[in-house]
């Protein structure tokens, strides 16, 4: 028996506008740019793919299943900029074949810097999922699949989750296969699902690569590879950015046709099926302990934190933004807290990455800035202003915090 477990990551950050040291206002975020990007990706990916998934779920009468992890900040943007996307997610939730996974509401690296903030974001996200989709997440994924033993213990200690998802990095597997369920070292109850990066990346990265010997990748061929897992594994975890469909791999690559055909081809083998992460956890017992003393992630070939913490600008910016936590919280201002939390999104630090910058690669594609330096300067200017606002607020004289240019999304009121 081989189960295919799809999980799609859906996220868009609140991008900053150009903000110089001479600016003195609290409209930090570029509503226009964020709206344009959100609508563009909605048209190319979220809407057509959601419709396709709905269609597949209906056609296969409950045998095709997927899972999503939607960040709080992307849902805020859907609500403001393209509410029709939100309604297609509602429709998906109602099929009963879609699981929603827990994560940090703000797509933050808070696990590394503030446990208090981390747990509060995880809780806020779970509440949002419950209020929007009627299900409380039982499986957790940390931002960028950042993971170690400590995270597993912390998540287990909350009692809210049955499993965690992370990267099936070679150096933690040490020759073992990602196609089983594992148990984290130090945990008694919680289970670990590992991304099968080879098969995931065949879809997410290599699909349209004409230099790849397997190109063009057809659904029957891929289903064959999945079927080969039988005997040597129980589950194939295909985890990827949702934007793979239509945005990273354009429609004309045939990615939608591939997905339309895939369930039929997988289910052609009577031994194979689809399961959501919770179903995988319920169905299979851990075969071994997984020891991950050092932090891993799903990024780049290094599978480490260097995409967010690789240079001194990144560590400085992260350090400075988290240093502001107690001050921001002391103000008890919703606007200050929201602005600060929007700055925690890992994307802001990813933009500052100098790794591979000179070669101009995938990092550049996702970067709204011309260079990592521009993004650092912009971020630090905003942070500096936020700090001054906090000081002003705590001194008691600020009416400015209330006059934000970004309307408070209703999603926040839901929670």
């Amino acid at each position: 028996m081989a189960s295919v477990c799809f999980y799609f990551q859906v996220h868009q950050p609140h991008r900053l506008r150009h903000y110089t040291v001479f600016d003195d206002h609290d409209r930090y975020f570029d509503d226009h740019k964020n709206a344009v990007i959100c609508r563009k990706v909605a048209d190319k990916c979220y809407l057509p793919m959601n419709r396709l998934l709905l269609d597949l779920i209906r056609r296969h009468e409950g045998r095709f299943k997927v899972a999503f992890s939607l960040t709080g900040v992307v849902l805020e943007q859907f609500e403001r900029f393209c509410p029709e996307v939100l309604s297609t997610f509602h429709a998906l939730a109602e099929t009963g074949c879609v699981e929603f996974i827990g994560e940090t509401y703000y797509h933050s690296l808070s696990f590394l810097y503030s446990r208090r903030e981390f747990l509060s974001q995880v809780r806020k996200h779970s509440e949002l999922m419950e209020s929007l989709f009627g299900q409380r997440p039982r499986v957790f994924r940390n931002t960028e699949l950042i993971y170690n033993n400590e995270l597993a213990s912390l998540i287990e200690s909350t009692g809210d989750f049955d499993g965690i998802i992370t990267e099936g990095a070679d150096h933690i597997l040490r020759g073992r296969t990602p196609n089983f369920v594992y148990r984290p070292v130090g945990c008694e109850r919680i289970k670990l699902l590992l991304k099968n990066y080879a098969l995931s990346d065949d879809i997410a990265f290599r699909f349209s690569n004409r230099g790849w010997p397997e190109w063009p990748l057809m659904a029957d061929k891929f289903a064959g590879w999945v079927h080969e897992v039988n005997g040597g594994g129980q589950v194939v975890n295909l985890f990827m950015d949702y934007e793979t469909f239509g945005e990273h791999q354009w429609q004309d690559t045939g990615i939608f046709d591939f997905m339309r055909q895939l369930p039929t081809e997988i289910l052609r083998h009577p031994d194979d099926n689809f399961k959501t992460p919770s179903e995988v956890i319920a169905a299979y017992e851990p075969v071994d302990r997984m020891d991950v003393p050092h932090l891993i992630s799903w990024a780049d070939t290094e599978r480490d934190l260097s995409a967010w913490l690789g240079n001194s600008m990144q560590s400085n910016a992260l350090h400075e933004v988290y240093r502001l936590e107690s001050q921001v919280k002391k103000t008890e201002s919703d606007m200050l807290l929201r602005d600060w939390r929007w700055l925690l999104a890992s994307d802001h630090f990813y933009y500052m990455c100098t790794k591979y910058f000179a070669d101009g690669d995938v990092h550049k594609y996702f970067n709204p800035y011309d260079s990592p330096y521009e993004s650092y300067i912009n971020f630090m200017n905003v942070l500096d202003h936020l700090r001054r606002r906090c000081v002003r607020h705590l001194k008691g004289g600020s009416a400015k915090g209330a006059s934000s240019g970004n309307a408070a999304p209703a999603l926040q009121k839901i929670c």
């Binding site: 001479f22 600008m313 910058f357 260079s371 650092y376």
Partner: protein
């Protein structure tokens, strides 16, 4: 491969990027085994070096040359001429007149050299350029070479003449154009000379795509024959790390270059004023001289930042090293910069740089802050960020220093050899 190169300036008398580029390229060609006959103008009276003094100025066609120990395949030939790489018709006239005055002071009205001088140097720059061409043809008679390579407009007529008289292909190397130097107030005669040089050349080398676009767009040259060869940076071992003792407790932002319209000194001042509105302990150093120097000094005073802007005049040798040692940041707000070697040198000295997007060097540097030269607010924003956030300075410095090490004259020389080959094959067909 044998090259007849019409170039400019050699150490220790280098006054700008053109001389640096000719030197760097020639050294690298030498290492590639290319035989270079390097021809350059020298004004006898202003030159203090010993080998020139041995000459008799009364012999107008006398050639002079000497060899640099590390250059195995390079021969030098100088032609007596008052041409200098950054001359304009006006400065040329001044230079000649000053020279004549000095002669008269020393020797009286009837000094014999005076007449020789007048005979040697044409009265205006355009005639001088053509006189230089005639001298070059004569000089080339005794030389064997495969290709003629001419650097910037004053040597184009010489390049054309030598190539034609000897039936060799011509390569012209464009380090700057009249549009860079003069904006839209183009000197038509210079433009004509530049265009003729590019048209008559079998191959044109541009120092950047920025310049290549000007060559194609403004001079109407076919893109097929315009190749881009980026300049490099020579690192002669480690630069001396001696303490200067000049350092104040404040920060230093450096402008280093000729103070001319092309280099955008007024934008530097504009940004300085903005920075000083929010930061106090910063000094702005303008190292260089040029026709806008006086105006720039007055402008700084009028803006009320006179005490914060220091002018050092033209620096050379150790003084340049010293000023880089002192600087926290180098800013190049050029209005139109075909390449821009100075930012590479700054990075080589571990000084982070802000460079204008209107420059060739911004095509090759990734680890630099880039601005539109006119965007004074943004220049100030970036200057403040570098001074305020040490991690930014640190990251720019370490990556930048690593990046410039990859820009080597050797690669430029190899590309030039490739261009020579193509020039030869076009002539053969």
């Amino acid at each position: 491969m044998r090259v007849f190169m019409l170039g400019w300036e050699f150490p220790p008398f280098i006054s700008g990027g053109l001389g640096t580029a000719c030197y760097g390229l020639t050294r690298a060609l030498d290492r590639e085994g290319v035989q270079v006959t390097f021809v350059l103008p020298k004004m006898v009276e202003s030159d203090p070096s010993t080998h020139v003094k041995m000459l008799s100025p009364s012999s107008p066609r006398r050639r002079t040359w000497h060899e640099y120990a590390d250059l195995k395949h390079v021969k030098f030939r100088t032609i007596h001429s008052a041409l200098d790489p950054y001359g304009t018709p006006e400065t040329y006239r001044e230079r000649i007149e000053k020279c004549l005055r000095q002669k008269r002071l020393v020797h009286g009205e009837k000094a014999p050299e005076t007449t020789t001088l007048e005979a040697n140097y044409a009265g205006d720059m355009y005639s001088e350029v053509h006189r230089y061409a005639a001298m070059a043809v004569e000089l080339a008679e005794g030389e064997d070479f495969d290709v003629v390579h001419a650097h910037d407009w004053m040597t184009y007529p010489a390049g054309i003449a030598v190539a034609a008289s000897r039936g060799r292909p011509l390569v012209v190397h464009v380090h700057s154009t009249e549009f860079d130097r003069s904006g839209e107030h183009v000197n038509q005669r210079i433009y004509e000379i530049e265009r003729e040089g590019m048209e008559r050349a079998d191959k044109v080398i541009a120092v950047s795509y920025f310049t290549r676009n000007i060559i194609i767009g403004r001079y109407g040259i076919s893109g097929d024959k315009v190749e881009v060869v980026y300049n490099g940076l020579d690192r002669n071992g480690n630069w001396p790390l001696s303490q200067t003792g000049i350092r104040t407790d404040g920060r230093i932002v450096l402008f280093l270059g000729r103070i001319t319209m092309q280099k955008g000194p007024e934008y530097f001042l504009g940004a300085a004023k903005k920075v000083l509105e929010v930061m106090d302990n910063v000094k702005f150093v303008m190292a260089g001289s040029g026709d806008m120097m006086q105006r720039t000094i007055e402008m700084a005073a009028a803006m009320g930042i006179g005490s914060k802007v220091l002018f050092t005049g033209f620096l050379r040798g150790d003084d340049v090293q010293r000023i880089y040692k002192m600087a926290d940041l180098y800013v190049m707000p050029s209005v139109s910069e075909p390449f821009g070697i100075a930012p590479l040198e700054a990075l080589g000295h571990d000084v982070p740089v802000i460079i204008s997007k209107q420059s060739g060097v911004s095509e090759v540097l990734m680890h630099a802050l880039k601005v539109d030269f006119w965007d004074v607010d943004e220049i100030a924003n970036k200057i403040i960020a570098v001074l305020k956030y040490p991690p930014l300075q640190m990251t720019l410095r370490s990556h930048g220093n690593f990046e410039v090490r990859k820009l080597r004259w050797q690669d430029a020389a190899r590309k030039c050899v490739q261009v020579y080959r193509e020039a030869l094959s076009t002539v053969a067909v």
